[in-house]
Symmetry: C6
Subunit: 267 residues, 6 copies
């Protein structure tokens, strides 16, 4: 069966997967059907690039609220493909560079990919690559023009390339015209109460009688924030209780958990 | 008869047609009357440039939605003319260059053309050449001024030049004033259901009883997106079925085809 | 009689008229009273500059829709004057130059003119000299300031200068304040049906019974577009008929002529 | 009597008055009470600078429509003062310079003035010095800041300075805050019919019976435009009559005069 | 007990706390429950960073009106943590530097922190770091992009980092998107009358019968302004009384105190 | 008594007071209670800086209409303090400099002040230091950021600094956020009729019976404009009477005085 199980991670031969792994600090757990569906579809596109003759270039955008799991998902697809060249392009490695240098860096990644028969490039947090800020709005048109051309330029004959983009600013990308440059777009959502419950069960830090109310309080929370929240609550009101909770000796007090939600959620 | 059949491609003597051919990755099929009409009219303009004394410069704009076939059409006209100098100017070969360098590059292509008795220059995706982005809007005024002058400047005595532009941002070009600089403008449309049906018949990937519903679902789709969609659907729901379908052993499942449309079309 | 006949072209001694002649690719035909009137008035200004003591500088603006014949008119006045220095300043010869270089070039033309007792400078397509684009709007303020000063600066004692500007963006020039810098302004119009008829009679490419309907269809067309249209129609529906028509053996088919109008006119 | 008669021009010792004289190409005629009043007041300010201890710096702005006689007036005050340093600062001598160079030039003129016991600086056409254009609006803030400081900075002890500015863009200067930097402001108006009549009588180019109607037609015309109009009309309808008119042998035909007004006035 | 008493200051081993101490010019007094609560929560986050495995990076924003005590609070948390690397990033040490130099400086502080197992970085007055001004608004997008990336980038494996930001321009930070980059946000308020009373009691500069009215008049005042006001009032109406008041010999006159409030508060 | 009489000027030891004195060209007269009150309060702040331990930095803004006496007041406070370092920062000495040079200059003045135990810095006409112009509005954000940091940065331990700013653009400073950076703000008003009367009595240029009407006409006039107006009126209608008036032999004619007001006041 072509589709691997969701949390089994098969490292690709020849591809440096360190960066990719680092993008999934809290591992990959089952957090609901939508996340699973996107993963499966993305892997079908991977196959299409590999076998089809008319698709030397396939581009796919993962969009959704901040912390919803886009980068972890993209990294997992990259890892689970058996492509020899998998590369993540992120603003983290280009801090403070001039836009033209960033631009050259991005082009270089594509040029390298063109040398490999099968490649995946992850454009992580495209709004950050574009130095986007909503006031104005301002952004690097140099980089946005470059991306729009790269997202449509075919690799040389015989080479195949998949590009996965991630963003939490869909409407900005749309207004720039970058969305249209992607063939396919998937929305990565926050967790619903029952998705959150699944995650909490796997984490096992709540008493059984609290797990439903906790999950309910987590309704509509992005998965990344959920992890931060659990960590905060695990310290306990007066500090010092984290070890006991992670080792299973104690459970998180639901009242303190509610308190922590106040600090994290902005109204 | 001066007009060649639509999908017969006669390479021009002395003109490098590699770039042009690469622009038609999925070949040229019959996809309806409007595309055919535009092709014929464009060839008449080619003849006018060749024979007329008062028209040393003819300029023609192909505009239409993204993926409607503009570049492929322009490339085909370029190939089917028997002009010794046919050149495509595209943002792909100028990624990351400064606007003044791009400008110089474009001027160079025109200067070269002026040396040939008969030339065609394709300005592909003019909005991209202008580094256009709708926010602001921003674009290179240097390049837009250059194009406006080049589109009106006569070649030296005895030389003839045809310029074909393509764009999917007509109203932007209009507001810049570039549209007025073209003598003629043709609208390249998306496919209607019956146009799509013609294409599907030629591709032969659907069961006979599904072809009408498939074509109906493709109503108003640009031809480029149609090809991408067929490729996606051909993988099958669980992957792996592409070869069987292209070899004719299997047909695309219409239900899965509908699914794929969801991923590709944005509402 | 001081006023020369409209289409007789008398080259001036000592002035290079090559550029000027090239601006009238389709020659000068009688195309109605307004064009003739403007020509005569412009020649009166030429005389005023020559004989008057209080007018060492006279400036005149020809404005009107794109293709209405402004440049050809200005060039004709320049040729028909007997002034030793007649120069056309056009964006065509300054493509891609930096605004400060263009500015220097323009100033140089004026400085040269100041050395001749009698000079005419044609500032062709002022909006293009200013790198104007309606979006924004943007334009070179450096060049516009330069023009505003040059249009008011008297030549040195004993020297006389006439400046003729052309533009199809009157309201822009007005909002910049350049219009006020010209002493006189003339509007160069499109052709009315009866003006067009005059031109068609001189071209002799329609059957007698078609000439009125053809002229009617050309109502409100600029003269430059009229010429392009005739060339297109002369190819015939299937190409190849141009020679027969220009040699008078055949006439343009009125139905095909209507078709061509569709391609050229934008609604 | 301190106040000189209006059109007597007494050159100042030691001051180069060539530039100043060139600013009054058509001489100074009596053109109504307002012009005379402004001239007298300006001369009183000249005296104030000279004799008062508390006014080492007096600044005065002449504002009014284009061509109303501001520059000629300012130049006349400069000439009629007996100040050793009288200098006109104009955009004409700074064409194409960078704003910082212009700025340095202006500062230099003030520094020079500070060395003379009594000085007059004419800042001619301040909006042009500021490179003002209404679109945007745009202008040089560097120069405008410089002027605002210079207009308030006292000369060194024992030195006296009068600054006369001219502008036809009062509301712009006002919005920049430059108006407030001037101590006194005078409005220089267009001519009323009876002012125009005075001028026409002195020029003597109309038949007696036409002079009133001509003056009426000139109501609200700036004096500079009046001179241009007379020159145009003096050529006659068919050219060639200028000499006869200026020598008094012929008079301007009133009908042709009305025609010329049409060309000059914009509605 | 993990939580230290509020005003006891325990200097950290190895961390330079001079800058931090200088940020608390008026010491730390008990000024109400909210300030105390924030301090305690911040110390819990300090502990979380130290013990948790899933939280190598915790970010916390202190926002509130100008002078409400944000910087003093952040500095106190830094001092009271036992972290070897505690650094304050402030605009004061980067006056007049180009934004790219500031950017490099900030990055350097983070890179240094990444070398220490446990670090705290205080980004003081983020709007000033961003060179924010409400008109426009304008700000350094280079620095804001840099902060957004740094606030999300994990330190290298095995290293832990806490970032504390302060700002009095929450809505600006929000519109830039920097707020979302912080995991937790606390609002630092002005003082209520009863909070102010606590502070006044500790300062002991009012007569007992005046202390309630004085506290009432200080309702809604930021703590920093309160200190300035007391100093002003302590001079007395005619000057010279400060020493007597601070030594306890005299008390501040309540009427003069009300007067001083008028000067300090803007309506 | 700590407070010196208003118009007695006691030069400070060691401080260069030439610049300061030059700022009070017309001396200091009694012009009403508000001016006196501000002067006294400012001197109290001077004392506070000197004696208080918690106030190493006190900042005070004088704002009011153009010409209301702000600079003269600030200079007088500087002179009347006995501080060893008193410095005025004015746009006059930085004409035409680049904003970064100005910025460096301002920082230098502060750095110098930090070396003196007691210092006063006058930031004169802050809007001019910021190169402010209402159109746009435009101003130097570099300088405004620098001022905002300098106005809050404490001098090194043991040093004391008072900063006095002046401005006639309060609402601009407010919108930039510079007002909030000052601890105290005083409004310096125009003169009321009875304030003006006091000044006129001291000047003694009107007949006794005219002084009340003259004062009435001066209601709401800034003191600087009052001085200019008296000088103008003192020339007399036909010039030449200034000496007689200042020597007391003649008085200003009230009718001519009213005339002069027309020239100076803009409606
Ligand atoms: N099934 C899952 N899918 C995605 N992420 C998961 C899943 N299970 C656990 N995670 C964890 O959730 C976190 C998701 O964070 P991630 O950085 O991918 O979100 P994001 O949407 O990219 O956030 P941002 O908008 O800030 O870029 C990761 O730490 C990851 O390890
Ligand atoms: N008759 C046809 N006309 C045009 N294109 C055709 C035709 N038949 C097949 N095609 C294929 O359809 C595709 C059209 O894509 P093309 O790049 O020309 O579209 P486009 O309008 O230029 O798109 P974009 O807006 O992205 O530039 C090409 O792959 C081409 O091979
Ligand atoms: N009487 C005429 N007046 C003007 N042009 C004429 C006349 N007769 C023939 N023509 C031809 O008409 C054309 C006018 O084009 P021209 O370039 O002068 O127009 P334009 O108004 O300058 O156009 P644009 O707005 O594009 O600059 C020329 O080819 C000229 O030879
Ligand atoms: N009494 C007068 N006052 C002013 N100008 C006069 C007078 N009599 C004659 N003139 C003539 O009128 C003309 C006035 O033109 P001038 O350039 O001074 O106007 P302006 O207001 O400065 O115009 P612009 O707005 O273009 O700068 C000059 O040629 C001058 O010789
Ligand atoms: N409990 C307290 N919390 C905070 N500050 C206190 C406390 N007690 C006394 N202070 C004093 O109050 C002042 C608070 O000023 P601080 O600079 O921290 O305010 P801020 O909010 O950072 O101001 P700004 O908005 O100007 O940056 C300091 O001088 C500090 O010494
Ligand atoms: N009591 C007084 N207070 C202030 N100025 C006085 C006083 N008495 C006389 N003057 C004179 O009034 C004038 C005030 O002008 P000053 O330059 O101080 O005003 P300003 O408000 O700074 O003006 P601007 O807004 O142009 O900077 C000075 O010439 C000063 O000598
Ligand atoms: Mg991400
Ligand atoms: Mg294309
Ligand atoms: Mg033209
Ligand atoms: Mg003038
Ligand atoms: Mg602070
Ligand atoms: Mg001042």
């Amino acid at each position: 069966d072509f589709l691997n199980a969701l949390h089994e991670i098969v490292p690709a031969f020849g591809a440096s997967t360190d960066d990719l792994r680092r993008s999934r600090l809290n591992g990959m757990v089952d957090c609901g059907d939508r996340h699973k569906h996107i993963y499966q579809r993305a892997l079908l596109l991977v196959e299409q690039v590999k076998v089809s003759k008319g698709s030397p270039l396939v581009t796919c955008l993962l969009e959704g609220p901040s912390g919803s799991g886009k980068t972890a998902l993209a990294a997992t697809v990259g890892i689970d493909s058996d492509f020899p060249y998998v590369k993540i392009v992120s603003a983290e490695t280009m801090i403070g560079l001039h836009e033209s240098t960033k631009c050259a860096h991005i082009v270089k990644v594509f040029e390298d990919a063109y040398k490999s028969p099968l490649s995946i490039i992850i454009l992580d947090d495209i709004e950050r690559l574009l130095e986007y800020v909503p006031i104005g709005p301002r952004f690097s048109n140099l980089i946005s023009q470059t991306l729009m051309v790269l997202l449509k330029r075919f690799p040389p004959e015989g080479k195949k390339l998949m590009v996965i983009g991630t963003t939490s600013e869909l409407s900005f990308l749309d207004s720039v015209g970058i969305c249209d440059a992607f063939s396919v777009t998937y929305h990565v959502p926050t967790l619903k109460a029952n998705d959150a419950k699944k995650v909490l069960q796997q984490l096992n830090v709540f008493a059984d009688e609290d797990i439903d109310s906790a999950a309910e309080a987590l309704n509509d929370m992005p998965i990344k924030k959920l992890y931060m929240l659990i960590e905060m609550a695990a310290q306990g009101e007066a500090g010092g209780s984290a070890e006991a909770i992670y080792s299973g000796k104690e459970k998180i007090k639901i009242a303190h958990f509610y308190d922590c939600i106040q600090d994290v959620v902005r109204y």
